[in-house]
């Protein structure tokens, strides 16, 4: 078998050239970004009040959106995977719609629902004085709307692939449905829940379109990192690049963590 080394065959040019072009398309912008970073002023750019406000707000809102996605999305994923009900396919379609919906459309829809004159927004404001537009709560809402599908899809897939007989055994041992979920199902899908939450968090952190449309752009209240990047691009490009680098590093870290630890645990 080792007599002759396998001759490397050149892939067809019609596949090779576009493939290399694709790599270039994805790589060149990143290189350009890195090339433009002003390393000497990076520290001060990232610690300017605008940057720090945006960073703090981004962390708070994206973590809140992730928490909200887990609290609401995990039960929905369980219902989709473990129960039968009428209109389930419709519910599932609605759940994944934000994945393909243009974020600005999501922002408009949120405005019409939760804005001051919105379907739910008006009674909420009139009766309780709750206002989502131009508020941090609005940012959380927008980010949750856009990012929660990642959690639902990941967790539902994990539930679908978990042998249902584990739950049947738990029931035979005297565990009711809630105890079975708490003691058996949830621990068994733990790694997928973490992976889904990480994806959700990364998506929420980068949210721009829905946020600016629905919550507006108020420094310290609704101006998250992506918004700060976009708006500082007109004034100080250097700051925009610095903040972009920060987001790039965070995205990359999530990717590495998912591949290395959580997705690896999933494949086991």
């Amino acid at each position: 078998m080792a007599a002759s080394a396998p001759r490397v065959r050149r892939p067809p040019l019609l596949l090779l050239v576009p493939g290399v072009a694709a790599v270039g398309l994805l790589t060149v912008p990143l290189i350009a970004l890195l090339a433009r970073v002003s390393w000497s002023t990076l520290g001060s750019d990232l610690t300017s009040s605008v940057a720090l406000d945006a960073l703090r707000l981004s962390l708070v809102c994206s973590l809140a959106a992730t928490g909200l996605s887990v609290v609401l999305g995990l039960p929905l994923a369980w219902l989709l995977a473990r129960t039968e009900f009428r209109g389930k396919s419709v519910v599932r379609a609605i759940t994944v719609l934000p994945l393909v919906l243009p974020p600005v459309v999501a922002g408009v829809a949120l405005l019409l629902a939760f804005g001051r004159d919105g379907l739910l927004g008006r009674p909420l404001f009139d009766w309780f004085g709750i206002q989502f537009t131009f508020s941090t709560a609005g940012v959380v809402l927008a980010e949750t709307f856009v990012a929660m599908p990642f959690l639902i899809v990941t967790v539902e897939a994990a539930l679908q692939t978990t042998d249902i007989r584990f739950e049947e055994v738990a029931a035979s041992l005297g565990a009711g449905r809630w105890a079975t979920f708490r003691l058996v199902t949830a621990p068994m899908i733990w790694s997928s829940l973490i992976a889904g939450a990480a994806l959700t968090w990364a998506r929420a952190l980068g949210e721009f379109g829905a946020t600016i449309t629905f919550a507006g752009d108020i420094e310290g209240r609704t101006q998250t990192l992506p918004l700060a990047v976009y708006l500082s691009l007109e004034g100080s490009e250097r700051v925009a690049v610095a903040l972009s680098l920060l987001l790039l590093v965070i995205s990359f870290a999530v990717l590495v963590a998912l591949r290395g630890r959580w997705l690896g645990a999933l494949r086991r």
Binding site: D163, V169, A170, A171, S172, L173, G176, P187, M188
Partner: protein, 361 residues
């Protein structure tokens, strides 16, 4: 503890109707091929697959009756479940797996741990109490799974192919454990399997099912002696001679007749173990034993149509009567090898045959 179940389940074109009675401490084996509805039956008994007809009564308590609208949920049935794949909770160590049931039944943490340790010791796996399931061998996992099922003192133990994933030595050990502990606990037990050996080794009663119907039920000895269909005989690995008794003769057709043994006229069947068929090389020219044999032994000329080695023996398929198999040493009497198509002389001792009337369906 007695179970009386008439299980009727219809789903997606599959229709199952199986009646099952299990008395105190009895082990009933449900034997049948894959897809016969064995697992559906078990799931119905466990309460995870509601009946569409019939009813399940355990110790006088109705567990499932669609007509009355009664359905006791699985967590209130006290049915222990053991599967082929063990299905130990992967995030809990062996001891916590076994303690799971007692905890759900209201035992304190320390009580449950004590019960768990006790069961692990009884099943000889106390040394792996703090191992996660993926560190356990197949045999250890199955013992822990059995301990987990028994630790709640179930009224009914449901075993789904519990031995299928084990190797031969583990199999016999787990078989013995099952027999001992099921007998000791007095738990009624339903064992679902496609392995006749498991069924005969473990059960008091065998229920044969195919395509959602009961084909035969009886003690392992009864079923093996008088299978109710050629299918049952094949499943148990014995030959079924099907013929007709006319006067003193048992006529198998195409010229082969055996002594009728005093059986009354009519259609008769008889079981013939593959080892009871003697095969010698046919051929007067090579001077080997051949030709008609005198005395009580009956012989006939036929050909080998299949050769299947089974470890230290060989199973020969014979052309005539169709489907007859003979279990022979791997080496021919003349020192050669068995080959397909070779003419042979088959003989049996018909005085061993127990002729019976086939069941009227």
């Amino acid at each position: 503890m007695t179970l009386s179940a008439e299980v009727e389940v219809r789903l997606d074109g599959f229709h199952e109707e199986v009646a099952l009675d299990v008395s105190d401490g009895e082990v009933v084996a449900v034997l049948g091929p894959n897809g016969a509805g064995k697992t559906t039956l078990l799931r119905a008994l466990a309460g995870v697959r509601p009946l569409t007809g019939g009813r399940i009564v355990l110790d006088g308590l109705v567990l499932d009756d669609p007509v009355q609208g009664v359905l006791v949920p699985p967590d209130q049935r006290s049915c222990g479940l053991v599967f082929q794949e063990h299905l130990l909770f992967p995030h809990l160590d062996a001891q916590a797996n076994v303690a799971f049931g007692p905890r759900r039944h209201g035992a304190s943490k320390s009580e449950a741990a004590a019960v768990s340790r006790d069961w692990l010791e009884r099943l000889d796996v106390a040394d792996v109490a703090h191992q996660r399931p993926r560190r356990l061998s197949g045999g250890q996992s199955q013992r822990v799974a059995l301990a987990r099922a028994l630790a709640t003192g179930p009224r009914l133990l449901l075993l789904d192919e519990p031995m299928a994933a084990l190797d031969v030595t583990q199999r016999s050990t787990v078989r013995r454990l099952l027999r001992d502990h099921v007998a000791e606990s007095g738990t009624s037990c339903v064992l679902v399997t496609h392995d006749p050996l498991d069924a005969t080794a473990l059960s008091d009663t065998i229920v044969l099912v195919d395509a959602g119907r009961v084909i035969q039920r009886g003690t392992p000895a009864e079923v093996a002696r008088r299978p109710a269909s050629p299918w049952v005989a094949r499943l148990l690995g014995v030959n079924l001679l099907q013929g007709r008794v006319r006067g003193p003769r048992f006529d198998l057709g195409a010229g082969l007749t055996l002594p009728g043994g005093g059986s009354p006229d009519g259609e008769r069947w008889a079981v013939l173990a593959a080892r009871s068929v003697t095969v010698t090389c046919d051929g007067a020219d090579d001077g080997l034993t051949g030709g008609p044999v005198d005395g009580p032994v009956v012989g006939w000329s036929t050909r080998v149509v299949g050769v299947q080695p089974t470890g230290d023996r060989v199973l020969l398929g014979l052309e005539y009567p169709p489907g007859l198999t003979a279990d022979v040493p791997p080496e021919r009497p003349d020192g050669g090898r068995w080959t397909e198509g070779m003419p042979v002389w088959a003989s049996i001792d018909p005085s061993d045959l127990d002729l019976y009337a086939p069941p009227t369906v």
